[in-house]
Subunit: 84 residues, 2 copies
DNA sequence: CCCTATTTGTTCGTATGTATT
DNA sequence: AAATACATACGAACAAATAGG
């Protein structure tokens, strides 16, 4: 019974663009409760470091989640997981 | 009875970001029937030249209209005024 | 209240990939 | 095959809002 290992990185050689991959990763993290509703997502700068993408790419990923209503952003404050 | 002259350019010193100004300009143009429904908007490159903004900024303006359902974009083809 | 660091918003320029014409 | 057009990425820069001491 070997557990399935899921790679949690961004693959720049994939057909799926990095910003969509990162959005998917963040969606999964939120679905698993980390970060929890009301809690902040990592900053764009942190996402850049953690996933090896440009800061602008990280922002684009978060913007996608914002458009989906999954997160709410406060300018200068951060992006937070929506509660409802 | 002097007609009101409306400036149709992007002001980089305005509080309103250029991409929003350009989106408003294009909205007005579409509302006035130019371009007409089904017709193509100027390309991002043309918008760059006509309004003095970066191509990426022009794309962001068009993306806004796309999100509003005002235009439809065909990759490699162009952006067209929605018909309904 | 002030100063500083952090964080998001936006722009620009450049480069590459992919689809259309 | 070539030119045009959209999609995406990266890096650098500055503004504006926020957070913390």
């Amino acid at each position: 019974m070997s557990a399935t290992v899921r790679r949690v990185t961004v693959d720049h050689d994939s057909a799926v663009p990095p910003y969509r991959q990162l959005a998917a990763i963040l969606r999964d993290r939120i679905a698993s409760g980390d970060p929890a509703p009301g809690a902040a997502l990592p900053s764009a700068k942190t996402l850049r470091q953690e996933y090896g993408v440009a800061e602008t790419t990280a922002r684009k990923a978060v913007a996608l989640l914002r458009d989906e209503g999954l997160v709410e952003t406060i300018m200068g404050g951060g992006s937070f997981v929506a509660k409802h």
